[in-house]
Protein backbone atom coordinates (compact mmCIF):
# COMPACT_ATOMS: atom_id res chain seq x y z
CA UNK A 1 0.00 0.00 0.00
CA UNK A 2 2.82 2.39 0.83
CA UNK A 3 4.29 2.05 -2.65
CA UNK A 4 0.90 3.03 -4.11
CA UNK A 5 0.83 6.08 -1.88
CA UNK A 6 4.36 6.97 -2.90
CA UNK A 7 3.42 6.51 -6.58
CA UNK A 8 0.39 8.76 -6.17
CA UNK A 9 2.24 11.50 -4.29
CA UNK A 10 5.33 11.49 -6.50
CA UNK A 11 3.30 11.61 -9.71
CA UNK A 12 0.93 14.30 -8.42
CA UNK A 13 3.96 16.39 -7.51
CA UNK A 14 5.46 15.57 -10.91
CA UNK A 15 2.24 16.77 -12.53
CA UNK A 16 2.57 20.08 -10.71
CA UNK A 17 6.09 20.70 -12.04
CA UNK A 18 5.47 19.16 -15.46
CA UNK A 19 5.68 22.42 -17.38
CA UNK A 20 5.46 21.68 -21.07
CA UNK A 21 3.57 18.43 -20.58
CA UNK A 22 4.79 14.92 -19.97
CA UNK A 23 6.67 14.71 -23.26
CA UNK A 24 8.48 17.93 -22.47
CA UNK A 25 9.27 16.41 -19.12
CA UNK A 26 10.24 12.89 -20.12
CA UNK A 27 13.81 13.56 -18.97
CA UNK A 28 12.50 14.44 -15.49
CA UNK A 29 10.22 11.39 -15.41
CA UNK A 30 13.21 9.30 -16.43
CA UNK A 31 15.25 10.70 -13.57
CA UNK A 32 12.42 10.11 -11.07
CA UNK A 33 11.46 6.58 -12.13
CA UNK A 34 14.90 5.23 -12.99
CA UNK A 35 17.51 7.10 -10.95
CA UNK A 36 15.70 8.22 -7.81
CA UNK A 37 12.93 5.71 -7.07
CA UNK A 38 14.33 2.71 -8.97
CA UNK A 39 10.80 1.80 -10.06
CA UNK A 40 12.11 0.57 -13.43
CA UNK A 41 15.45 0.30 -15.27
CA UNK A 42 16.67 2.25 -18.32
CA UNK A 43 15.73 -0.46 -20.82
CA UNK A 44 12.21 -0.87 -19.45
CA UNK A 45 11.72 2.90 -19.52
CA UNK A 46 12.68 3.15 -23.15
CA UNK A 47 10.56 0.08 -24.03
CA UNK A 48 7.55 1.58 -22.23
CA UNK A 49 8.13 4.82 -24.10
CA UNK A 50 8.02 2.85 -27.37
CA UNK A 51 4.83 0.99 -26.37
CA UNK A 52 3.15 4.25 -25.37
CA UNK A 53 4.15 5.72 -28.74
CA UNK A 54 2.95 2.75 -30.74
CA UNK A 55 -0.35 2.33 -28.91
CA UNK A 56 -3.29 4.49 -29.89
CA UNK A 57 -4.02 7.29 -27.43
CA UNK A 58 -2.09 9.85 -25.46
CA UNK A 59 1.61 9.11 -25.39
CA UNK A 60 1.99 10.20 -21.78
CA UNK A 61 0.91 6.61 -21.11
CA UNK A 62 4.56 5.91 -20.39
CA UNK A 63 3.34 6.99 -16.93
CA UNK A 64 0.42 4.52 -17.04
CA UNK A 65 2.86 1.72 -17.86
CA UNK A 66 5.18 2.65 -15.02
CA UNK A 67 2.17 2.45 -12.69
CA UNK A 68 1.25 -0.92 -14.14
CA UNK A 69 4.79 -2.18 -13.61
CA UNK A 70 4.60 -1.24 -9.94
CA UNK A 71 1.08 -2.36 -9.01
CA UNK A 72 -0.85 -3.89 -11.91
CA UNK A 73 -4.10 -2.40 -13.19
CA UNK A 74 -4.68 -0.44 -9.99
CA UNK A 75 -1.22 1.10 -10.26
CA UNK A 76 -1.86 1.99 -13.90
CA UNK A 77 -5.15 3.77 -13.17
CA UNK A 78 -3.73 5.51 -10.12
CA UNK A 79 -0.64 6.71 -12.00
CA UNK A 80 -2.75 8.10 -14.85
CA UNK A 81 -5.08 9.87 -12.44
CA UNK A 82 -2.22 11.20 -10.30
CA UNK A 83 -0.44 12.74 -13.25
CA UNK A 84 -3.61 14.36 -14.60
CA UNK A 85 -5.72 15.78 -11.80
CA UNK A 86 -3.65 18.72 -10.54
CA UNK A 87 -3.09 20.21 -13.98
CA UNK A 88 -6.60 19.51 -15.31
CA UNK A 89 -8.12 21.57 -12.53
CA UNK A 90 -5.55 24.31 -12.99
CA UNK A 91 -5.92 24.58 -16.76
CA UNK A 92 -9.71 24.55 -16.53
CA UNK A 93 -9.71 27.78 -14.54
CA UNK A 94 -6.72 29.33 -16.29
CA UNK A 95 -8.24 28.89 -19.72
CA UNK A 96 -11.51 30.52 -18.58
CA UNK A 97 -9.52 33.36 -17.11
CA UNK A 98 -7.58 33.90 -20.33
CA UNK A 99 -10.63 33.51 -22.60
CA UNK A 100 -12.51 35.96 -20.37
CA UNK A 101 -9.83 38.62 -20.59
CA UNK A 102 -11.18 41.84 -22.11
CA UNK A 103 -7.95 43.35 -23.40
CA UNK A 104 -7.08 41.59 -26.68
CA UNK A 105 -3.48 42.78 -26.45
CA UNK A 106 -2.74 41.08 -23.13
CA UNK A 107 -4.58 37.98 -24.31
CA UNK A 108 -2.39 37.76 -27.40
CA UNK A 109 0.70 38.49 -25.33
CA UNK A 110 0.03 35.55 -23.02
CA UNK A 111 -0.75 33.24 -25.92
CA UNK A 112 2.34 34.18 -27.96
CA UNK A 113 4.61 33.93 -24.92
CA UNK A 114 3.21 30.56 -23.90
CA UNK A 115 3.46 29.17 -27.44
CA UNK A 116 7.12 30.17 -27.75
CA UNK A 117 7.97 28.64 -24.37
CA UNK A 118 6.16 25.45 -25.29
CA UNK A 119 8.14 25.09 -28.51
CA UNK A 120 11.40 25.43 -26.62
CA UNK A 121 10.37 22.89 -23.98
CA UNK A 122 9.14 20.30 -26.49
CA UNK A 123 12.33 20.55 -28.55
CA UNK A 124 14.61 20.29 -25.50
CA UNK A 125 12.75 17.24 -24.27
CA UNK A 126 13.02 15.51 -27.63
CA UNK A 127 16.75 16.23 -27.63
CA UNK A 128 17.35 15.00 -24.07
CA UNK A 129 15.25 11.87 -24.38
CA UNK A 130 16.89 11.00 -27.70
CA UNK A 131 20.19 10.91 -25.83
CA UNK A 132 18.70 8.36 -23.40
CA UNK A 133 16.91 6.01 -25.76
CA UNK A 134 18.92 6.09 -28.99
CA UNK A 135 21.93 3.85 -28.65
CA UNK A 136 23.17 3.70 -32.22
CA UNK A 137 23.92 5.96 -35.16
CA UNK A 138 21.13 4.22 -37.05
CA UNK A 139 18.64 5.19 -34.33
CA UNK A 140 19.64 8.85 -34.63
CA UNK A 141 19.34 8.69 -38.42
CA UNK A 142 15.85 7.22 -37.97
CA UNK A 143 14.90 10.03 -35.56
CA UNK A 144 16.20 12.72 -37.91
CA UNK A 145 14.56 11.02 -40.89
CA UNK A 146 11.25 11.03 -39.00
CA UNK A 147 11.55 14.76 -38.37
CA UNK A 148 12.37 15.43 -42.04
CA UNK A 149 9.50 13.31 -43.37
CA UNK A 150 6.89 14.78 -41.03
CA UNK A 151 7.99 18.31 -41.90
CA UNK A 152 8.11 17.76 -45.66
CA UNK A 153 5.17 15.41 -46.22
CA UNK A 154 1.72 14.83 -44.76
CA UNK A 155 2.21 11.15 -43.98
CA UNK A 156 0.27 9.78 -41.05
CA UNK A 157 2.60 9.20 -38.05
CA UNK A 158 1.43 5.58 -37.95
CA UNK A 159 3.30 4.80 -41.19
CA UNK A 160 6.49 6.15 -39.71
CA UNK A 161 6.02 4.09 -36.55
CA UNK A 162 5.43 1.00 -38.70
CA UNK A 163 8.55 1.71 -40.76
CA UNK A 164 10.59 2.31 -37.60
CA UNK A 165 9.32 -0.94 -36.07
CA UNK A 166 10.07 -2.88 -39.26
CA UNK A 167 13.61 -1.48 -39.47
CA UNK A 168 14.09 -2.47 -35.84
CA UNK A 169 12.83 -6.02 -36.40
CA UNK A 170 15.15 -6.42 -39.37
CA UNK A 171 18.04 -5.44 -37.12
CA UNK A 172 18.96 -2.08 -38.66
CA UNK A 173 18.43 0.00 -35.51
Amino acid sequence: MSILLSLFLELSAFSLIAFGGVNALLPVLFDLAVNQKHWIDVQTFSDYFAIAQAAPGPNFMTVTLIGWHIYGVLGALLATFAVSWPSSIMVYYLQRFITGMKNPLSKKTIQYAAAALAIGLVLSSAFQIALQINHSLAAYILTIGTIAITLLTRWHPLYLIAIGGALGVLGFV
Binding site: N23, D47, F49, Q53, P56, L65
Partner: protein
Protein backbone atom coordinates in the same frame (compact mmCIF):
# COMPACT_ATOMS: atom_id res chain seq x y z
CA UNK B 1 -8.52 6.11 -30.11
CA UNK B 2 -6.92 6.58 -33.50
CA UNK B 3 -4.22 8.70 -31.95
CA UNK B 4 -1.38 6.43 -32.97
CA UNK B 5 2.02 7.91 -32.32
CA UNK B 6 0.71 10.13 -29.58
CA UNK B 7 -2.37 12.26 -29.70
CA UNK B 8 -0.62 15.58 -30.16
CA UNK B 9 0.34 15.20 -33.84
CA UNK B 10 -3.05 13.59 -34.42
CA UNK B 11 -4.93 16.36 -32.62
CA UNK B 12 -3.10 18.95 -34.70
CA UNK B 13 -3.91 17.10 -37.93
CA UNK B 14 -7.58 16.58 -37.10
CA UNK B 15 -8.42 19.93 -35.55
CA UNK B 16 -6.26 22.17 -37.74
CA UNK B 17 -5.36 20.44 -40.98
CA UNK B 18 -8.52 18.38 -41.59
CA UNK B 19 -11.57 19.81 -39.81
CA UNK B 20 -10.22 23.37 -39.58
CA UNK B 21 -11.99 23.89 -36.23
CA UNK B 22 -8.99 25.86 -35.04
CA UNK B 23 -6.39 27.85 -36.97
CA UNK B 24 -2.76 26.84 -36.64
CA UNK B 25 -2.06 29.86 -34.44
CA UNK B 26 -5.10 29.19 -32.23
CA UNK B 27 -3.91 25.62 -31.83
CA UNK B 28 -0.41 26.75 -30.86
CA UNK B 29 -1.90 29.29 -28.48
CA UNK B 30 -4.22 26.81 -26.74
CA UNK B 31 -1.43 24.28 -26.67
CA UNK B 32 0.80 27.02 -25.31
CA UNK B 33 -1.60 27.62 -22.42
CA UNK B 34 -1.88 23.88 -21.86
CA UNK B 35 1.87 23.53 -21.88
CA UNK B 36 2.63 26.42 -19.61
CA UNK B 37 0.33 24.81 -17.08
CA UNK B 38 2.17 21.77 -15.81
CA UNK B 39 0.80 18.27 -16.45
CA UNK B 40 0.13 16.08 -19.49
CA UNK B 41 -0.50 18.65 -22.19
CA UNK B 42 -2.85 16.42 -24.15
CA UNK B 43 -5.10 16.03 -21.10
CA UNK B 44 -4.95 19.77 -20.63
CA UNK B 45 -5.80 20.17 -24.30
CA UNK B 46 -8.81 17.89 -23.81
CA UNK B 47 -9.90 20.00 -20.83
CA UNK B 48 -9.46 23.23 -22.83
CA UNK B 49 -11.20 22.13 -26.00
CA UNK B 50 -13.84 20.10 -24.12
CA UNK B 51 -14.73 23.03 -21.87
CA UNK B 52 -14.77 25.37 -24.86
CA UNK B 53 -17.64 23.37 -26.35
CA UNK B 54 -19.35 22.01 -23.22
CA UNK B 55 -18.14 23.58 -19.98
CA UNK B 56 -17.01 21.39 -17.10
CA UNK B 57 -18.95 18.38 -18.38
CA UNK B 58 -17.38 18.77 -21.80
CA UNK B 59 -13.98 18.79 -20.16
CA UNK B 60 -14.72 15.63 -18.19
CA UNK B 61 -16.15 13.86 -21.24
CA UNK B 62 -13.14 14.80 -23.34
CA UNK B 63 -10.61 13.55 -20.79
CA UNK B 64 -12.41 10.26 -20.11
CA UNK B 65 -12.99 9.71 -23.82
CA UNK B 66 -9.34 10.33 -24.43
CA UNK B 67 -8.15 7.90 -21.78
CA UNK B 68 -10.30 4.85 -21.14
CA UNK B 69 -9.96 3.01 -24.46
CA UNK B 70 -6.26 3.68 -24.85
CA UNK B 71 -5.49 2.63 -21.26
CA UNK B 72 -7.10 -0.78 -21.85
CA UNK B 73 -5.16 -1.25 -25.06
CA UNK B 74 -1.83 -0.16 -23.64
CA UNK B 75 -2.27 -2.57 -20.71
CA UNK B 76 -2.90 -5.45 -23.12
CA UNK B 77 0.30 -4.49 -24.92
CA UNK B 78 2.09 -4.37 -21.57
CA UNK B 79 0.97 -7.96 -20.87
CA UNK B 80 2.34 -9.06 -24.23
CA UNK B 81 5.55 -7.20 -23.51
CA UNK B 82 5.85 -8.98 -20.17
CA UNK B 83 5.82 -12.34 -21.94
CA UNK B 84 7.83 -11.61 -25.05
CA UNK B 85 10.27 -8.85 -24.15
CA UNK B 86 13.19 -11.31 -24.17
CA UNK B 87 12.80 -11.88 -27.92
CA UNK B 88 15.38 -10.12 -30.07
CA UNK B 89 12.61 -9.24 -32.57
CA UNK B 90 10.57 -7.47 -29.91
CA UNK B 91 13.61 -5.58 -28.67
CA UNK B 92 14.41 -4.41 -32.19
CA UNK B 93 10.79 -3.46 -32.82
CA UNK B 94 10.71 -1.27 -29.70
CA UNK B 95 14.09 0.32 -30.50
CA UNK B 96 12.83 1.31 -33.93
CA UNK B 97 9.53 2.65 -32.61
CA UNK B 98 11.10 4.70 -29.84
CA UNK B 99 13.55 6.30 -32.30
CA UNK B 100 10.60 7.33 -34.49
CA UNK B 101 8.56 8.40 -31.42
CA UNK B 102 11.18 10.87 -30.26
CA UNK B 103 11.36 12.24 -33.81
CA UNK B 104 7.58 12.77 -33.78
CA UNK B 105 7.82 14.79 -30.58
CA UNK B 106 10.56 16.93 -32.10
CA UNK B 107 8.64 17.51 -35.31
CA UNK B 108 5.58 18.71 -33.39
CA UNK B 109 7.92 21.33 -31.93
CA UNK B 110 9.32 22.23 -35.36
CA UNK B 111 5.85 22.52 -36.89
CA UNK B 112 4.78 24.92 -34.16
CA UNK B 113 7.96 26.88 -34.83
CA UNK B 114 6.81 27.65 -38.37
CA UNK B 115 4.25 30.10 -36.96
CA UNK B 116 7.03 32.09 -35.33
CA UNK B 117 8.58 32.95 -38.70
CA UNK B 118 6.19 35.92 -38.88
CA UNK B 119 7.95 37.43 -35.91
CA UNK B 120 11.47 35.97 -35.82
CA UNK B 121 12.45 37.65 -32.52
CA UNK B 122 10.44 34.90 -30.80
CA UNK B 123 13.11 32.42 -31.90
CA UNK B 124 15.23 33.98 -29.18
CA UNK B 125 12.77 32.64 -26.58
CA UNK B 126 12.85 29.19 -28.15
CA UNK B 127 16.66 29.20 -28.26
CA UNK B 128 16.99 30.43 -24.67
CA UNK B 129 14.61 27.75 -23.41
CA UNK B 130 16.55 25.03 -25.20
CA UNK B 131 19.91 26.31 -23.94
CA UNK B 132 18.68 26.63 -20.35
CA UNK B 133 17.17 23.13 -20.39
CA UNK B 134 19.75 21.14 -22.32
CA UNK B 135 23.09 22.93 -21.86
CA UNK B 136 22.69 24.11 -18.28
CA UNK B 137 20.29 21.32 -17.20
CA UNK B 138 18.19 23.74 -15.18
CA UNK B 139 15.06 22.32 -13.55
CA UNK B 140 12.00 23.14 -15.61
CA UNK B 141 10.56 25.46 -13.01
CA UNK B 142 13.72 27.57 -13.23
CA UNK B 143 13.74 27.47 -17.03
CA UNK B 144 10.20 28.85 -17.07
CA UNK B 145 10.95 31.50 -14.44
CA UNK B 146 14.04 32.59 -16.35
CA UNK B 147 12.60 32.68 -19.85
CA UNK B 148 9.03 33.81 -19.11
CA UNK B 149 9.83 37.53 -18.58
CA UNK B 150 11.68 37.70 -21.92
CA UNK B 151 8.90 35.70 -23.58
CA UNK B 152 6.24 38.07 -22.25
CA UNK B 153 8.25 41.14 -23.29
CA UNK B 154 8.75 39.90 -26.87
CA UNK B 155 5.19 38.56 -27.06
CA UNK B 156 3.87 42.01 -26.19
CA UNK B 157 5.94 43.52 -29.02
CA UNK B 158 4.70 40.79 -31.36
CA UNK B 159 1.08 41.42 -30.35
CA UNK B 160 1.53 45.14 -31.04
CA UNK B 161 3.35 44.56 -34.33
CA UNK B 162 0.87 42.13 -35.90
Amino acid sequence: MSGFGGVLPWARRTLVERDKILTSEEFSAILGICQIVPGPNIMNLAVCIGSRFGGARGALAATLGLCLGPISIVLCLALLYEHYSYLETVKGLLRGISAVGVGLIASTGFKMMRDEIRYPAMFLVVALTIIAATVFHLGLGYVVLLVAPIAVFLARKKAQAL
